[in-house]
Symmetry: C2
């Protein structure tokens, strides 16, 4: 055995292929985004740079770019559309932070802690307006409709989520409707755009479906990680959702199967937000009892499987392989 | 002298002619607005109805309607566009309330006091998304561009205003830039749309100018009223701007001309928001000393005069008369 051969780890799913394929396009998207937030108004400049430049995986614009490539699209429209998608996402993040007072996002202080609620609301509005100007700039009614519809669905989803806060008796169905709206709608639009600008309706439909399923799976895993992740890996505080009284699938499973005492626990901690320091630990114990994280991941895996199937209409190619990797990555990032 | 003849009051400028001319169209706009906020999501329904049904003068959509009529427009597009304009306005109000914690708007509790900040941010986003869907529904790139540009300018203006808060040394120029953006841009778009859908570029340009000038005048008078109005008439709390540390033209005049003690007063009350109960009275006294309200109204009147001139391109007709009435009303509502 040659010296430099090491025992190979089992292949870990990654987004490397995706980012390799869209690298140049993603750089153009980043340049465009930074250009649009370059502002003589320092507050816009500072907050926008904070939230945009602080990294993030750019997964949504990358989906637009890889979808366009998968469909053999050759033009330039995908750049501005992908930037528009990212602007909608960052604006939503800013408004979410105002709302949720989450302490940590991507391992950095949230914008509203640094700049105040006021600024986060208004700069969020500015980012939304940039998203709309970019989509108007594409000069095409169909892409406009896709993105403005997505914005409307996201807004509805955010309000629906707010209404389920503190209500652990929320049904699985309502929960799925919330995450389909607040998360999956933008994934769906991001992917569909690639097929639309390539002018292939069948592919656009398939990509839209892909986006919905991967978006739901992504959110399910996110909600599971909130009770199970290693904080350093995830870059977010375990227990954020718990602290905010957010009702996610692991909670819904536990509440439905729970004893009277356990139901009272969820009602106190999430319904009335009366939390003691040891409550998060208790919550995680109850989740282990009912395998609530496992069941949530199980549901995510079923959506991942649906996502894979939607790609059947495409011939094997590096782009398709990269998109299947996204699905694998999504399903595996919990482990 | 016959018994039923009473001594006539001097003719008071009113919006009666305007509302008479657009009455039927405005009803259609209201119907469309209520249709769009009819939602299975009770929170959206409640907040949207609260802020929309609570009245308001509908001055912005009325401007779109009267402008379209003035240009002899015969179709239906003005209805949805006027509704879109009102949605942008109400969304901005909701986000403004989150931001400013004003206690009273239109004589009613603000939405964020009734429903919480969270809900106001997210329902505001929903209303913005409805505005965009309505403008996309008009299916025309030019109207889309006008309205999405206006939204972007408003968002910038709101952030700029936030940055001047607590800074009484703000220049008149910066202040004018803020109100041109946060207020006049939507008035301008509202009016321009009438000319655009009537497909008359010269008229559209004139109406845009009209909107800018009347919008600036409107905001100047509003800012003056905040230190001078009879609360019952105005339906807003005198001193709102003062309490929030908002820097408006009356303050800028006083600060520029003020003694060292007066500057220290503004720095303490508006710069650091350290206010005692008697401070509002002192502020009003200082304003009287420098005729700051009179000067602000004087500037409003100069913009009113500019607004009147822009209508020279139109022949005399009831619509033109009604628009001149708006100008007179704007200039006179302070008395």
């Amino acid at each position: 055995m040659p010296q430099n051969a090491s025992v190979k780890k089992p292949q870990q799913a990654s987004l490397d292929a995706l980012y390799h394929l869209v690298r140049d396009d993603l750089k153009r998207v980043d340049t465009l985004i930074l250009e649009r937030v370059k502002s003589e108004i320092t507050l816009i400049h500072d907050i926008a740079r904070h939230i945009i430049a602080s990294g993030g995986k750019r997964i949504r614009p990358a989906l637009t770019l890889i979808s366009a490539q998968l469909c053999g699209y050759n033009g330039d429209r995908h750049i501005a559309l992908a930037a528009s998608v990212e602007f909608i996402h960052t604006a939503t993040l800013l408004h979410d932070d105002v709302v949720d007072e989450s302490k940590l996002r991507r391992g950095l202080a949230t914008a509203n802690e640094l700049f105040g609620n006021k600024a986060s609301v208004l700069v969020g509005d500015f980012l939304f307006s940039q998203a709309f100007q970019l989509m108007v700039g594409d000069n095409n009614m169909r892409t406009l409709r896709i993105l403005s519809d997505a914005s409307a669905i996201i807004a509805k989803g955010e309000v629906m989520q707010l209404m389920t806060e503190g209500a652990p008796e929320t049904s699985i169905e309502s929960y799925l409707q919330v995450i389909s709206s607040k998360t999956a709608a933008l994934f769906a639009a991001a992917c569909e755009l690639g097929g639309v600008i390539a002018e292939n309706d069948e592919w656009a439909d398939a990509l839209r479906e892909f986006g919905i399923y991967i978006g739901i799976a992504f959110q399910l895993v996110d909600d599971a990680l909130d009770y199970s992740a290693d904080q350093e890996t995830l870059g977010k505080t375990v227990g954020d959702d718990f602290n905010e009284g957010k009702i996610t699938l692991p909670v819904i499973y536990c509440y439905g199967a729970g004893t009277r005492d356990e139901k009272a626990f969820w009602d106190r901690t999430l319904g009335n937000l009366q939390q003691k320091p040891e409550d998060l630990h208790t919550a995680i114990m109850i989740m282990q009892k009912y395998d609530a994280i496992g069941k949530t991941i199980g549901m995510a895996e079923r959506y991942c499987e649906k996502a894979r199937k939607t790609l059947d209409v495409f011939e094997a190619c590096p782009e398709k392989r990269a998109m299947l990797d996204i699905v694998d990555f999504c399903a595996s990032r919990v482990y």
